[in-house]
């Protein structure tokens, strides 16, 4: 079993166990004759802690028995890099979206995302971002009327000219 998987299992134990005291405190909030706000989450978290601990110990045991055995597919460093790059691009898009607005950021996002996925054809990189943005703009903003983020400042003024 890979180190990454053991770390993930350990994080699961920590996550559920760390929330247990909070759930215990919630148990004090109750009405007369009622089990209270903490009863259900306490049981859920307690079971989850036990199960995640079981999986963690099982993983440790199998790693000790056969360190080369892998139970889950481990990405290579190149795969992990590509995936991480995709996540960073998406997160960056989500972070700048409220400031620059949907219309400005979306074609840029598509361009960078396609490039990040390995696309190198100039024609496609030039046309697809614009066509996809126009399609989504007319369908979701104009037809379904979802007020996608307009941005702020000058970008807000620009977006308001369009929707």
């Amino acid at each position: 079993m890979g180190r990454g998987e053991i770390v993930f299992r350990a994080l699961c134990v920590l996550f559920f166990a760390a929330l247990l005291p909070y759930a215990w405190q919630l148990g004090e909030i109750r009405r007369f004759g009622e089990v209270g706000s903490g009863f259900w989450p306490l049981w859920v978290l307690a079971f989850a802690t036990v199960l995640s601990l079981f999986l963690f110990l099982q993983g440790l045991g199998s790693a000790r028995r056969d360190p080369r055995q892998k139970t889950a597919a481990q990405p290579t460093s190149a795969e992990a890099r590509r995936c991480l790059a995709a996540m960073v691009i998406v997160l960056a898009y989500l972070l700048i979206l409220p400031w620059f607005g949907f219309v400005i950021t979306t074609p840029l996002f598509i361009l960078v995302f396609m490039f990040g996925l390995g696309e190198r054809r100039v024609g496609l990189l030039g046309s697809a971002p614009l066509l996809i943005t126009i399609g989504l703009f007319f369908f979701f903003i104009k037809f379904i009327q979802i007020p996608l983020p307009r941005g702020s400042g000058v970008f807000l003024t620009f977006s308001r000219m369009l929707y």
Binding site: E34, V35, S37, L55, L97, M114, L124, I146
Partner: protein, 497 residues
């Protein structure tokens, strides 16, 4: 009852609803045909399109996406030997073998007709069974509702894949997520950590979009860039239109597989995949020429396609009558009901008969319209399959963003969706099934409220859950459903996932 059907028919036949059914089935067929987009993901990605729609239009569209996705899986299965859906594995075995022998068009016709017959049959069963089951369920109190939710949650063992422990942990994670936000009984804030973002709880769709769709894009991003092009030689459907004389021989297997598919679809946790495998197995068992199976047996293809489509009516019956999602996809539909301010279950038939009967008529129309849309889908798919993945992935990710934003028009939901995307990616990477987490999130709230209300009414006596006959029966069924995968393993039937 007849006036409900008449009203539903006139409503569904309105142009806006017909367009919704047409577009829904087209999207379902395309999504079902594309490997990597499951029926549940197709429904999730379809939900944002329904935000501004009336409930009847919205559910006409979503049900047609569901039915279309199950049928669409057969297109790539037959033409390219790639099952677009897990339920199309048997279709690959027989349909693609037929295609390799130069009978791709005949295999497509068989799949289209068998899917339509299976689907229409199951819709008629749904029309008959849903009101009966719902009337029975109207007598339910909190104890019965809690038992019903436990029965729904017991599906987890069937959705767990290889590790039951990981499946249960995933479900507990979902149950925990359902507790985040304001407590429905005491009004206390739970696990919000002082942020207003989590006060209303974690939205089903936001979590579903992240766990199922965004995570899939991240996982696909790992792969090196590869141009994806179609390689099938396809001469067109007109070449081999089947004759009635040929179909007469298959009527028995068609009827039996449709019945089996409908029944299996209604069982919590069993789904289109199990239905198609069981029907395929039965067809090979009773066939006069079992040696043909695996080499392009028409009976095998008919059995698999009729059964997987018939399972949709079975699972919709249970969803509409009891509010139990029998499969991953119906769990997404349950979430969609909540988004539209509706609660699937026995009361829905009383409070909103227009929606329920509208779904019946829409499902019937979908199965008929799909005969035409699948033919169109075959042509379109040959073109779509030539699209580079970089374009396709960008569109999917943007649909995730718009879907998450559109629920509350809140940018904060986008970050929640992203976090769930990363969690979903890690869960998939380390083989933790994501479907049980979604199930826990969808059913958790009602399960907890019913449990606590049941205890309040019984003055704290937990025996209320086993002393009432319906509740006890449902809890017993939950135990059976929990241990069903172990029985299935002994019987040698393959798992759903």
């Amino acid at each position: 009852m007849l006036e409900h059907y008449w009203t539903a028919l006139t409503t569904v036949l309105q142009p806006v609803n017909l367009v919704a059914i047409l577009l829904g089935s087209l999207w379902g067929i395309v999504a079902g045909a594309l490997p990597g987009i499951s029926a549940s993901m197709a429904v999730v990605l379809g939900i944002p399109f329904t935000f501004g729609m009336q409930p009847v239009t919205a559910f006409s569209m979503l049900v047609s996406v569901y039915c279309g996705a199950i049928t669409g899986g057969s297109i790539t299965a037959i033409l390219f030997g790639i099952p677009g859906e897990p339920s199309a594995v048997c279709t690959v075995v027989e349909g693609h073998s037929m295609a390799k022998q130069g009978h791709a068009a005949k295999a497509m016709w068989i799949a289209i007709i068998a899917s339509a017959v299976g689907g229409v049959f199951s819709v008629f069963v749904m029309m008959f069974a849903t009101p009966l089951v719902a009337t029975f369920a109207l007598a339910f109190g909190p104890a019965e509702y809690f038992a019903l939710m436990v029965l729904g949650l017991s599906v987890v063992s069937s959705l767990s894949g290889r590790s039951l422990t990981k499946g249960f942990l995933s479900c507990l994670f979902g149950l925990f997520l359902a507790t985040v936000g304001t407590d429905g009984i005491t009004g206390a804030e739970r696990f919000t950590f002082g942020t207003s973002v989590l006060l209303g709880g974690i939205g089903f769709v936001i979590a579903m979009v992240g766990l199922l769709a965004a995570s899939e894009v991240f996982a696909e991003a790992e792969q090196p860039f590869k141009e994806k092009t179609a390689s099938a030689e396809y001469r067109g459907l007109r070449a081999e239109i089947p004759r009635w004389v040929e179909w007469r021989r298959h009527l028995g297997i068609l009827g039996w597989s449709s019945t089996l598919g409908t029944v299996v679809g209604a069982l919590p946790g069993a789904g289109a995949t199990i239905a198609s495998f069981l029907a395929y197995g039965e067809a090979s068992r009773w066939s006069k020429r079992p040696e043909k199976f695996g080499k392009g047996a028409e009976d095998g293809l008919i059995a698999a396609e009729a059964a997987n489509n018939a399972s949709t009516g079975g699972s919709l019956t249970v969803l509409l009558a009891l509010g139990i999602p029998g499969s991953n996809t119906t769990a997404m539909l349950l979430g969609a009901f909540m988004i539209h301010g509706l609660q699937a279950g026995p009361l829905l038939l009383v409070q909103r008969p227009d929606v329920v009967y509208g779904i019946f008529i829409a499902a019937l129309l979908t199965n008929l319209i799909m005969i035409l849309t699948t033919i169109w889908g075959v042509r379109l798919f040959l073109q779509l399959n030539r699209l580079p993945y970089s374009v396709f992935a960008s569109v999917i990710m943007l649909l995730c963003v718009i879907g998450a934003f559109g629920i509350n028009n809140s940018v904060d939901d986008l970050y929640v969706m992203f976090i769930f995307g990363v969690i979903g990616y890690l869960m998939a990477k380390f083989e933790y099934p994501t479907a049980p987490a979604v199930l826990g999130l969808v059913l958790g709230d009602l399960a907890e409220l019913s449990f606590r209300r049941g205890l309040v009414l019984s003055q704290g006596d937990p025996m209320v859950f086993v002393s009432r006959p319906i509740s006890a029966l449902l809890l017993l069924l939950s135990l059976v459903a929990l241990f069903y995968p172990l029985l299935r393993k002994r019987m040698g039937i393959p798992a759903e996932s």
